[in-house]
Symmetry: C2
Subunit: 353 residues, 2 copies
């Protein structure tokens, strides 16, 4: 029995027997026909969440099949089975890019047919049908060319892709636009704080470093895993200090951050590998704040880790939504040559792969 009315949360498309939100649902209804407050998107590309893609990659490497075909088959199976792209292991999804195909008469999103948009809500709650078998994807990268359709709800968020920037650059920024906005908000709660960004040369990391400086950080420290990334981050000029350290080694990280002028008042975790909770906590001063943006974060490791260290730190679940986040991130990209350089280099190396 389907509800006759739609709910802005998308509840009307949940096929599970118990009442859960689309994000928590096992299966979504992917029917083409729209409820009055919905929007249908013709999909051009999926951007898989980094933690999700790495998990799929590791899994199939462990099985000895590194061809990419196995990863592609698994993504197709997940989407066919669940009506959305949600990695069962990581719980995460990604975002998508496409063109508005139809707008329900009661949609509050302000979109028009033909608009090129990126969805800023996760694929984990977005009804999705893949119609081309992902024939254009080699299974070896997070960027997935795709033909199909997706549905946005009344309360979903989509950003119109700006005309003044290359599309792939905009998308790459919009994918992580929650991080700089929340970083700026947290930094603004301290006076000239020391800000450590773990994974400072990555997408969300470099934007967070730029946001921290703008929001009044007294000192910014970028942590990266390799000398090669350190060079790139130094060249970008986004951090006052650049530190090479394995974020999974808590003592090494604590000591490296201390040597660079830490501990941090604000620590932002942007690396998509498990096991960084302890090091982030130990690198943070009493009454400091740790913002966890990585989808590889373990709730219990963070909660019990801080308790076990008697660490009086505030720990935030990195909420990917902050009002104005898309415009803010695009502004950082436009106005900060360092950010732009890192993003362009990343896109270049992806294209070359």
């Amino acid at each position: 029995m389907k509800p006759t009315a739609s709910d802005p949360t998308g509840l009307h498309r949940v096929l599970d027997e118990t009442v859960v939100l689309p994000q928590a649902a096992q299966r979504l209804d992917t029917r083409r026909q729209l409820w009055p407050d919905e929007v249908r998107i013709r999909v051009a590309r999926l951007n898989l969440d980094a933690a999700s893609f790495r998990q799929l990659e590791r899994k199939h490497q462990d099985k000895g099949d590194a061809s990419g075909a196995a990863i592609r088959a698994e993504v197709l199976a997940i989407v066919a089975d669940r009506g959305k792209m949600q990695n069962p292991e990581t719980g995460s999804g990604g975002m998508l890019v496409g063109t508005v195909e139809e707008v329900g008469p009661e949609s509050p999103l302000g979109l028009r047919v033909g608009d090129r948009v990126a969805t800023l809500v996760s694929l984990t709650l977005t009804p999705l049908v893949i119609e081309d078998g992902l024939a254009g994807w080699d299974g070896l990268g997070e960027q997935v060319p795709c033909d199909g359709y997706a549905v946005l709800f009344g309360r979903s968020i989509a950003a119109v892709i700006p005309d003044d920037l290359p599309a792939d650059l905009s998308l790459s920024v919009l994918d992580v636009c929650g991080a700089p906005a929340l970083t700026a908000r947290v930094v603004g709660q301290y006076v000239a704080p020391t800000v450590v960004v773990i994974g400072g040369s990555g997408k969300s990391g470099s934007l967070s470093l730029a946001a921290a400086r703008r929001a009044g950080a007294g000192r910014t420290i970028g942590v990266v895993p390799h000398e090669r990334e350190a060079e790139a981050l130094r060249a970008a000029g986004l951090a006052d200090r650049v530190v090479v350290s394995d974020a999974r080694d808590p003592i090494a990280l604590r000591d490296a951050v201390a040597a660079a002028g830490g501990p941090a008042d604000v620590t932002v975790v942007c690396v998509d590998v498990p096991g960084c909770e302890g090091g982030a906590i130990l690198s943070t001063a009493e009454r400091g704040t740790v913002v966890f943006f990585s989808m590889a974060t373990s709730f219990s490791a963070a909660a019990l880790g801080a308790e076990g260290l008697a660490a009086d730190v505030t720990m935030l679940v990195g909420n990917g939504y902050v009002p104005g986040h898309a415009a803010y991130a695009l502004e950082l990209l436009r106005e900060d040559d360092g950010v732009r350089g890192l993003f362009q280099a990343r896109l270049g190396s992806e294209a070359a792969r």
Copy 2:
């Protein structure tokens, strides 16, 4: 090769090949001999974390063995294998109670031999040896009589059990003492906020309600799953409004909280069942704060849930350590008859079981 020096975090007792903190470790060194900054406790009782115990209970019920012997055997196996009590599924542990047996000459904890103490750091990072095979435990409750020993590090925390309160009552409060302290701090960041406590009649929930009122809440709403618990909470007088709702049903919870005077400025999640993230987010006003104390919380469900609902809420990982938390929780117990009544009733029903 063992390090010759101890580290206040307990790193010197980690047996894993990579450098991780004791909480993240697979195995701890449980040798009796102390490093100079350590303390050894003669254990009298373990209090298993509620989420952990329920997981074990469900698992063995599903296997058709509800005798309790299976649960006991599993707890013994975990502790023997890992050198600590950490449920591999939930990642959580609990706390322990005992008497100080030996104090290293450089211990900063201020404990004396013979002190009756409760550990306020998790069992997930506490070296533990069980010496009686848990012969005194029926495997059917979270309270586990136990003879054995445990080790505290330089940075661990233990509370001396007060003389003016029954020991089981103190322990029961100390077990969850992080929740009221952090609730009070968050409530104090708002002006006369509406505070919703999900699981308001439980241990951490009732203390959090009392703390919220003291810290200046304008209105307190307790959410409970059954009418029986609603009656108990009403009788205790800890909440201005008591609401019966299934916290796993996000829409029902949102609507029930709204009808009781919500949405909340501060929502405190104290129920140890999975799937409460969406409802908590939907019950919270824009710019409100959700504090997740439940070890059943999923990081990705919280992060992606808020993003998917375009909800501008701050989400905190409930850190079990706030300075002064033990004394504050005991004060609430001493001075609030409602809290004391609920705790005593709970202990009574456990004893009767």
